[in-house]
Symmetry: C2
Subunit: 119 residues, 2 copies
Amino acid sequence: MAFDPTTLKYDANGLIPAIAQSETGEVLMMAWMNAEAVQRTLDSGRVTYWSRSRQAFWVKGETSGHVQRLLEFRIDCDRDCLLMVVEQEGPACHTNRRSCFYTAVRDGSEVELMAPMAP
Amino acid sequence: MAFDPTTLKYDANGLIPAIAQSETGEVLMMAWMNAEAVQRTLDSGRVTYWSRSRQAFWVKGETSGHVQRLLEFRIDCDRDCLLMVVEQEGPACHTNRRSCFYTAVRDGSEVELMAPMAP
């Protein structure tokens, strides 16, 4: 079946959550896409989100160099969430950590799981 | 630092997205939690979402038996997304597939990646 980005289910703001996972299985981050960001990601092979704070397209790594090359684009059963399997250049997180999910809750307390990567 | 669920960033509906990942690295599903679902998940060790369609707590697997035992609870850098590392009993998806992300887009077409599990 030919894929049409408009057949995905977007929220009231026209956005769908997109999870980025490395080819080694690590969940790196979650951000948002609109239908055009979905199409740009597929066309370019460079993961492209919609920045809610800047209200602009966000080609991941465009300024930092920490690009995400698309390896596989997946859709969930309800068509309201995306999973991008990516080749991540350097850290995915703006704090310079490999993943944005670097904090765990253990025994009721927050614990930092990973340090920022060397520049 | 002691963890307080009210310090997470919830959306206008009081919800935060929660990704479930198996201990083997597979991304299984994404659903939503409110602050009380977060607390119930931590207290019980059973992943508990908020069902937007039913407007009720949803202890994953309560009726199907396909429970998610919490192995690790992670928070992202912006505190607006959660990652649950879980031990998943059977399929995570209501279609009886292991993961909800069973569809890929390849060469412009949708491809089914996995079949439903045996009952």
